[in-house]
């Protein structure tokens, strides 16, 4: 390229009128001056730089002056301003698109669906994962956790009052707070309600840096053991129960029967630690009574700026090492925590503890919908290629009449711009609907659900996607070399090389679509397998036709005797309800977590020094529990009424406990007790029952569990809990029972409320909800990708066949059999499809690793899945190319030769 050629290109910067008038002359002058430049590279470059600068200056000043002139003066010039030109071009584009409604609807709908899906997932990701938590300087918030590798509990222990006292003195910690979640019955004004609450030390608002929107938060004194009973309401409770009355401050309400003064209302946006906490009460701690043990709390700290988690861990470890000296009055316990349990501090970023790994799911889903968008773009690029082919003559006429390439580009871009913007807008509506549905129905317990909305960032994202994808398929027709108008305007104008080039571009698009569809389908197939593996899991109990609910008895009204009498009466009446087969009580339901737990001592079997027996989950149940929830009895007998009345020290264990404690198989008749309960009696194991899921369905190993009769007083030194869960086995739909249960409760004690009544099946479904949610979305994305991909293959082959009508006709006329023609076409497309499948498999293998944590019961590189998807897609794609090939081969050779 000579400098003169470049100069001519740069002249295009100038306004058209100026270029027409002087462009040629300027080029001549430039050439003459260039020839006169002093010899030497530097002089030449200096000259070229100055020339270019002059042109840019000329272009910008002239264009500005010209726009001003148009704006102020006339419209009688035939020149249009850029804006006018654009609106005219867009108006024409809308008209052209309107004349092909089928094409336009297909294009806009395809793109709108893809953009909608991308925007919805992006909105989730943006609000849940990318946005900082709604607390000032939230990056310095740390969740305090501990693990005990020596007890096989790597993390999740939480905090104790002792660590609260000790960590608070560290220089790295600015402030910290303890809290725990619970449920209590709120009574007083209105019907009693059982509500989730958060019990926190007064320091919580200092850690989070938030203030109540009404009234005040707890004073330090209210966190002391003898402090006043005060409650702060959540915004939602304030609205629903107190009618958003500002005069609520100072009033008294009853929580589990005790009077509490309402002192404040939190802001609407406040949702700590999650949105379900309805009110806040002060955690009362006596610093003098702080204990190193008793991991009954969760902890959160605000650390000093610049402190890393590693540095924090190191400081915490220092404290743990000195635990026996720090707590001389609990030296024995402290020593065993350090030496045997090998207690370890596990501080993590608070946001990570809130997200619970949901970010991985969202990133995977964003990747999936991005692939769908890519396939949709490939399809549209294809559609527009075909469309521009149909327009070549029109464009040629325009160019012959003097339209520059800018105008021609405008011609192409205006249509895609209209399609892109329309798709982005419709996609935005779809995304809005999807996000609303998701927040309302919340198929998964998404963290920060209340913060999710379609904001301007997401709207901008939709528009950006629209413009980028619009540009991507507008550029393709422009990239190819332009055929001279004269050639195109000749009759027929066929057989030029540009046609072959464009065919090549289409095949690349087709291969890319196949690759992308393979990647997505492999992911979807892996998720389906995980889901099926999850469904095959036996949770150890029967969930169908079981209703579960929880009841908490106020401590100051129900002593042990009254509580057990109450449960007995309620069970009796539940059993009398029509349709009820049986009912039972348990302290902790399956899938409801670990609950209380301790290592057990076995009579006559001392563990070697330094070894602690496995932790057994301690459960209390009524006799009918195993039969009601469908846990099978394996050995011995279940608990009975005699045990219930406290006349025996019988206990039942599950198979995991039997295996862990009694590898010799001798279980029945062995005597056990919770570790450290030397003054309590021994319990005799009378039966072994099946294992049940503890936290989720996808557990690697079953938790050892021991079941005691509900009334048992001494199990681990704590009295029977006041909140218990009921299971009712009924013949009909479980939810139909809820109102009957409420009525029964009303008769027994109108101040009580049931919490979370739900079919047991819902609890089971919730356990697999994240997986099911990911699977459904991935399968949807995979299905859309498959459909769009196959439409793409079909379109490319159909178009190629149409282009070759004459050739095929000639072959047929010369004696080729239709079968030969079909085979020829399918074989040619088969090569492209095979290449696409192979590339897609490689991509899937690369991407499968990111799925790892989401999968269950299947490896990311599951060979049968890869092979199956590859074969299935290859077959489907071949079919999609066979259909048009078939049709072409059946044409009448004479007809096709004449029509061309």
């Amino acid at each position: 390229m000579s400098a003169g050629w470049w100069f001519a290109r740069c002249l295009r910067l100038l306004p058209a009128s100026l270029r027409r008038e002087y462009g040629e002359d300027m080029a001549i002058t430039f050439a003459a001056r260039l020839a006169a430049v002093l010899p030497g590279r530097r002089a030449r470059w200096a000259f070229l730089a100055r020339e270019l600068g002059g042109l840019v200056w000329l272009a910008s000043t002239e264009r500005l002056a010209w726009r001003r002139a148009v704006a102020t003066a006339t419209s009688d010039r035939q020149e249009l301003s850029g804006m006018e030109h654009l609106t005219r071009e867009l108006r024409h584009a809308v008209r052209r698109l309107g004349s092909t409604p089928g094409f336009t609807a297909a294009a806009i709908l395809t793109l709108a669906l893809a953009i909608g899906a991308n925007t919805a997932i992006f909105a989730l990701l943006h609000r849940v994962v990318l946005s900082p938590l709604p607390y000032p300087d939230a990056g310095r918030l740390v969740a305090l956790d501990h693990g005990a590798p020596g007890l096989d509990v790597p993390s999740g222990l939480g905090m104790t009052s002792g660590f609260y006292r000790e960590y608070g003195e560290l220089p790295a910690v600015e402030t910290l707070a303890l809290y725990r979640r619970g449920a209590a019955t709120l009574s007083g004004e209105g019907p009693p309600e059982r509500l989730a609450y958060v019990q926190a030390t007064p320091s919580l608002t200092k850690v989070l840096r938030v203030q109540p929107s009404l009234g005040r938060w707890f004073a330090e004194s209210e966190g002391a053991p003898e402090g006043a009973l005060v409650v702060v309401l959540s915004h939602s409770l304030w609205v629903s129960r107190f009618g958003a009355d500002p005069g609520v401050i100072g009033r008294t309400t009853r929580i589990d029967g005790a009077p509490y003064e309402i002192i404040g209302v939190m802001p609407e946006s406040f949702a700590f630690p999650s949105a379900d906490g309805r009110f806040f009460i002060a955690q009362k701690l006596d610093p003098a009574a702080a204990r190193p043990g008793g991991f009954n709390y969760e902890g959160i700290a605000r650390i000093q700026p610049g402190v890393t988690l590693d540095a924090l861990s190191a400081q915490f470890s220092g404290i743990i090492a000195r635990l026996p000296e720090r707590f001389p009055e609990h030296a024995g316990l402290a020593r065993s925590m350090v030496d045997e349990a090998r207690l370890t501090a596990r501080p993590i970023e608070y946001k990570a503890s809130v997200l619970r790994g949901v970010d991985q799911t969202l990133w995977v889903l964003l990747g999936a919908v991005a692939i769908v968008l890519l396939i949709a773009c490939a399809n549209l690029a294809n559609l527009f290629l075909v469309r521009t082919d149909g327009r070549q003559r029109e464009v040629a006429v325009r160019r012959a009449l003097g339209a520059g390439s800018g105008k021609v580009a405008g011609f192409y871009f205006s249509e895609t711009l209209v399609v892109a913007v329309a798709s982005a807008l419709i996609g935005l509506l779809l995304a809005y609907a999807a996000v609303q549905l998701l927040v309302a129905r919340a198929p998964v317990a998404l963290p920060r659900l209340h913060e999710i909305r379609l904001d301007t960032v997401a709207a901008g994202y939709a528009l950006l996607l629209g413009l980028v994808s619009g540009a991507s398929f507008a550029i393709l027709p422009l990239l190819r070399r332009q055929t001279a108008p004269a050639v195109l305007l000749q009759d027929g104008g066929r057989g030029n090389t540009a046609g072959a080039r464009r065919m090549h571009a289409r095949q690349v698009l087709m291969g890319a679509q196949v690759s992308l569809a393979v990647m997505l389908l492999v992911a979807a197939a892996l998720m389906i397998q995980s889901f099926r593996a999850m469904q095959r899991i036996d949770p150890g109990f029967r969930a169908e036709s079981r209703l579960v609910f929880r009841i908490g008895l106020p401590e100051n009204e129900y002593d042990r005797e009254r509580a057990s009498a109450f449960h007995e009466r309620l069970l009796e009446r539940l059993n009398a309800l029509p349709g009820v087969a049986s009912a039972a009580v348990t302290t902790t339901l399956p899938l409801d977590g670990h609950g209380w737990g301790d290592p057990l001592d076995v009579q006559g079997m001392l563990p070697p020094p330094g070894v602690i027996n496995p932790v057994a989950a301690l459960r209390r149940v009524t006799p009918a529990f195993f039969a009601t929830i469908g846990v099978p009895l394996r050995q011995g007998r279940a608990l009975d009424e005699t045990d219930m009345r406290g006349h025996s020290n019988a206990a039942v264990v599950n198979e995991a406990l039997a295996a862990a404690y009694f590898p010799d198989g001798q279980v029945i008749g062995r005597r056990v007790r919770a570790m450290g309960q030397e003054d309590g009696g021994w319990f005799t194991i009378v039966g072994v029952v099946g294992n049940t899921a503890t936290h989720t369905l996808r557990e690697d190993a079953s938790t050892p569990k021991i079941y005691f009769p509900l009334r048992t007083e001494v199990v681990d030194g704590t009295p029977p809990p006041h909140a218990v869960s009921y299971v009712v086995h009924t013949g009909g739909p479980p939810v139909a029972l809820v109102s009957a249960v409420r009525r029964l409760l009303d008769e027994l004690d109108p101040n009580l409320a049931i919490a979370r009544p739900e079919p047991l099946e819902d609890m089971v479904a919730r356990s697999g909800a994240t997986l099911a949610f990911t699977m459904v979305l991935l399968v949807l994305a995979g299905a859309v990708a498959l459909l769009l991909g196959m439409i793409g293959v079909y379109a490319v082959i159909a178009y190629a066949v149409a282009q070759r009508t004459a050739e095929i006709g000639l072959r047929l006329a010369l004696g080729a059999r239709p079968g030969d023609v079909t085979t020829m076409i399918v074989r040619q497309s088969g090569a492209v499809i095979a290449a696409g499948v192979l590339i897609g498999l490689a991509g899937a293998a690369g991407g499968a690793r990111t799925l790892g944590g989401l999968l269950f019961g299947v490896t990311p590189y599951d060979l049968p899945t890869f092979v199956g998807v590859a074969a299935g897609l290859f077959g489907t794609a071949l079919l999609a190319s066979w259909l048009p090939a078939q049709r072409a081969a059946r044409q009448n050779p004479l007809e096709s030769l004449y029509t061309r």
Partner: protein, 107 residues
């Protein structure tokens, strides 16, 4: 008032019909390279002057072989404008001499 460049463009054209290249070369030579407009700047000036009616396009002289070349001449209004500008400069020079800010004429 004319800018330095436009005045010099007009002075260059004053000798008779001139082509863009010749105009640029003339300016560069007469100002000892102080003014050496880029092609863009040169044509911007020419276009402005043409629009204001101070310069007009002229037929190529008999010897020109490249028919695409455009030639420019001063219009009567252009001559007036040059005169007015030079008169203004003269007045400026006279004033500067009177204030002894500029050496007297050698004559």
């Amino acid at each position: 008032m004319l800018t330095d460049l436009t005045l010099h463009v007009m002075l260059a054209i004053g000798r008779g019909p001139a082509h863009g290249y010749a105009i640029g070369k003339d300016i560069s030579l007469r100002t000892d390279g102080r003014l050496d407009p880029s092609t863009g700047a040169l044509y911007q000036a020419l276009r402005r002057l043409t629009r204001e009616g101070l310069v007009a396009r002229a037929p190529a002289p008999a010897g020109e072989r490249d028919v695409r070349r455009k030639y420019f001449v001063l219009t009567p209004a252009g001559r007036d404008a040059v005169q007015a500008e030079v008169r203004r400069l003269e007045a400026v020079v006279a004033l500067a001499r009177e204030r002894r800010l500029y050496p007297a004429a050698a004559t």
